[in-house]
Amino acid sequence: MHWLTMMEMARGLESREFSATELVEHLLSRVAFVDGSLNSFITMDRERALIDAAHWDEARSRNQHPSPLAGVPMAHKDIFCTKNQRTTCASRMLEDFVPPYNATVVERLAEAGMVCLGKTNMDEFAMGSSNETSYFGPVRNPWDITRVPGGSSGGSAAAVAAGLVPLATGTDTGGSIRQPAALCGISGLKPTYGRVSRWGMVAYASSLDQAGLMARSVEDIACALSYIAGFDDFDSTSADEAVGDYIRMLDAPGKMKAGLPKQFFSDGIDAGVAAVMGKAVDALRALGIETVELDIPELRYAIPAYYVIAPAEASSNLARYDGVRFGHRCDTPADLEDLYKRSRGEGFGVEVQRRILVGTYVLSHGYYDAYYLTAQKVRHSIRRALKQALAQVDFLVAPTAPEVAFPLGSRNLDPVAMYMSDICTIAVNLAGLPALSLPVGFSSGLPVGMQLIGDDFDEAGLLQAGHLYQKNTAWHRHHPDVATYSGVE
């Protein structure tokens, strides 16, 4: 039952093949067996999940369920505020933080009747590409538990890949949905900036952060996106753009043309990944998608510009953690400055401190023009170049990550090497565009992801192309053998 997709679970509930309670009980027991090895959840709420499941079973028996997803289990990345359930952002700073309200994404999926099993592990404050910066310990990759799941949404990716939930939320500031989706062999969508409300999502870099979805099929993502997308009064940066019925739009794509920016296929791409990508591009061509090579030299400057803009915004956003209003507070402060400094010194882990200091540096007197303003100009060039490319083609194709999942502990002492994990994803965030990662094969037994990048608000086009690919291939139907480390099938 655990390998059913979200839509298959919804159909099973509709045909009374199983109840929501049976489904939730099954997945909870699977979590109990498997997650000791993976560490994909920070907080579980079994009791709440079973109460919700029973509620939707009852509502379904009276035909009064709000959506086909009523009773289907899912999980939220622990960056989304959940009312009366702690939301840690994988930080000691928020270890005991219990929000007084729900994030809009949480609220909308709850209204649709989805049952949240718990909150998934992540890199602290979403800063990381390996899920090793979590205060609650690293997440392990379900395909090989000696390797990282990617990050920052590593817990969501591992939970979906291991069959613990069919759907999980994630957030993507520089690749945090797509890169872990690729490394764990699942599908992940980063919507257009503003497509989904950021209300109640703990802020990292506000001009880049976007909420999205991770699942074992594109169809599942299309369905769930229809519920979470759209304008929100509580987020003034959410876009007032029409939301499609993405499931209905999945089929009947017209003729499509894809661009292959050569920078994404050369600089630092592992040979095994490149070989799998070559076959995936051939498969797209076999499906009737025309391809054309493109040259976008501006892409080379995405990582440097990102590591000015994101830390600058982070240093400002994270100033709110002062030990006064909420979050960690040090013991017996000597004075107010000591309270601030020790609360923040104790509450933040090393990667978060690193980025706060980089942000403080690039925004400090005398350096603002040299770094921050230059980075914003580079950002503009990148967006302009990508928009020009997308005027010629329907979407761009790239590997999602330059390599497969790397061993735990192999990179966390070298921040710059770690930052290169996002070399294929970061430009998309700088430009604010939507992108979808799909599993397209294996290299050395580990999953490889392909990324499709679309124009502003063209999630439907990306989902069509991804669905077309998944209807004709079976890579998204491959599952890791969890029996090797959990003792269950």
């Binding site: 940066t237 876009a239 007032d240 400057y301 979050g327 309270l339 020790r342 060039s381 921040p415």
Partner: protein
């Protein structure tokens, strides 16, 4: 550009993050590496390009000036580490030589 542990101590003070000497040293090394990588963006000719602050071009939508939520003062205070009589509690700031009110 070389960033020294003295620079780190200054930045840590500006960012109000307590740090010991070992952390200063290792962060000095890290920030030197990171800023070295960042320097590559200067290879791009960005003259004549306007800085992009935000990718959203749509105008900000105004909502009606109505109370949307009830007052959540109590809920906000409940999650604070220390409160007294409905106020956040911090070490004494004015007078008393910076003593501790806790």
């Amino acid at each position: 550009m070389e960033i020294s542990s003295r620079d780190i101590a200054h930045l840590a003070h500006l960012a109000r993050v307590a740090m010991d000497d070992d952390q200063n040293e290792s962060l000095a090394h890290d920030l030197t590496q990171i800023m070295g990588m960042v320097e590559h963006m200067r290879e791009m000719d960005s003259s004549g390009i306007e800085p992009l602050v935000h990718t959203q071009t749509a105008e900000q939508r105004m909502r009606a000036d109505e109370v949307a939520w009830r007052n959540m003062r109590e809920e906000a205070l409940v999650i604070a580490p220390m409160v007294e009589k409905g106020y956040y509690l911090v070490p004494q700031v004015i007078g008393g030589g910076g003593g501790n009110t806790e």
